[in-house]
Symmetry: C2
Subunit: 270 residues, 2 copies
């Protein structure tokens, strides 16, 4: 069942490696996730890679691991491809010196707002112009922790399918919904149904503790350095402020989202 | 006053560049911080670089910026060195393609427990075996946000003076105290004075909201993947648990520290 690949210049290797670039992810509609843990999270969330790449047993492969055997069987049963290769080639594909012994290629998900079922969860995270893929992945992970439905990315954000974001999500890319939209499309979508839009803000805000949160609660955080545009804040139903004892920019966007998410979770009885 | 350096092979350039390696930081007792914002935070916290490195005006330098002029004057008055060089050499020193127009060399601080004044703040963060310099810097930043006194690093942690940690701290490396100690030294130090040791835990823990926090409160978080050793948890005065709606490892160490820190801040009347 396994196809062996040993050459660096093999076109499949080149195509896999290219998935580290946004433009190739966009063109192919695929992205890369690495590590048995992440791939097992994916499998348990009902997502299987179209191609599974694993290291040969004699090169640190984890082929004998029961979870990997189960994954491989599922991929094969679903008509996917399995490629066996060397640790050096896996390192080239993933761009890591110490690559995980397995990687998978997944079809990117539908990230339109239409794919979001707002009634599926009491909390949704919304990030505007979030630039750092690590912050993006961390927000997905936080969303998973508080039982959020997913992350809605507004305007120009980092790519949720980048290797860095997928890695930082620690598997939450597979458990959380992800949508991408311009503000001009998001706001009408939000207003077409129930939903409270909450922003962490310094202007006209009430203390974040004890604020009247309501489900489904959409927690909006802004760009890492500029914060939210004033007109976006003005469109919010609730503006809350968190204590900042240090400098004004003390809290990073992903941290603010985490603290606020836990507050909303508690307020909603979670 | 300024010394011009134009050659990549200049020994000063090599020495500065070497500060990106832990072993050279240790040997020289110095570390590197970059960017006018960070250096201004340092200056406002009473820390001046022993050497200031800035880009020539004709290469994107910020020499005309009033904050940089003030910084340069202070460095010179304190007997420090000022080096003017090209953007390409600054890039080599900082390891960034788009270097900030200024960098500074600082003496590392005293990171012994003896330098910690526990009465100076109601909250202290304590991290055990924290491996990721980005998480470390983020925890410093969170500490700044909640008015913590500083971060105590237990056992083998990432280097707080690494370029990545300093960068992620967004200047909090200069506002927060930092100590490094083995657990065997930390615990007797803690018990020699007032202090409540609180761990986020899954074992024998009470809900983190409404728990009886008391100042000075030392918030202990464990390694990113392994958490805290059981015997460390057992030594804590209070173990608290946070809701995890998703997978067990949903919350990253720095996130857990942030959520818990804000809870303690609120409980202590902050």
């Amino acid at each position: 069942m396994r196809r062996q690949i040993t050459g660096f210049s093999n076109p499949t290797v080149k195509a896999l490696r290219a998935l580290r670039d946004k433009k190739h992810r966009k063109a192919s509609g695929q992205f890369l996730a690495e590590g048995l843990r992440l791939l097992t999270d994916a499998r348990e969330s009902g997502r299987l890679p179209t191609t599974l790449v694993l290291a040969s047993e004699d090169q640190g492969g984890a082929g004998g691991h029961p979870l990997l055997r189960a994954l491989e069987a599922d991929v094969v049963a679903a008509g996917g491809a399995v490629i066996e290769t060397g640790a050096d080639i896996l390192a080239k594909i993933t761009g890591k010196d110490n690559p995980q012994a397995v990687a998978g290629v997944f079809d990117v998900f539908d990230t339109s707002l239409a794919a979001i079922d707002r009634d599926a969860a009491p909390i949704w995270l919304v990030a505007q112009a979030l630039r750092d893929p690590g912050n993006l992945g961390t927000m997905l992970r936080t969303g998973d922790a508080v039982g959020a439905g997913g992350l809605i990315l507004i305007d120009d954000c980092a790519d949720p399918f980048s290797v860095e974001a997928v890695r930082a999500s620690m598997g939450a890319i597979f458990t959380q919904s992800v949508a991408q939209a311009r503000w001009d499309a998001f706001l009408p979508w939000l207003r077409a149904g129930p939903g409270q839009l909450v922003a962490a803000s310094l202007r006209d805000a009430v203390p974040y503790r004890g604020a009247p949160y309501a489900a489904p609660c959409f927690i909006l955080v802004g760009n890492e350095s500029r914060g939210l545009p004033p007109e976006y804040e003005a469109a919010c139903d609730l503006k809350v402020t968190m204590p900042m004892k240090g400098r004004a920019d003390s809290l990073n966007a992903a941290m603010a989202a985490a603290v606020l998410s836990y507050e909303v979770l508690a307020a909603l009885g979670g």
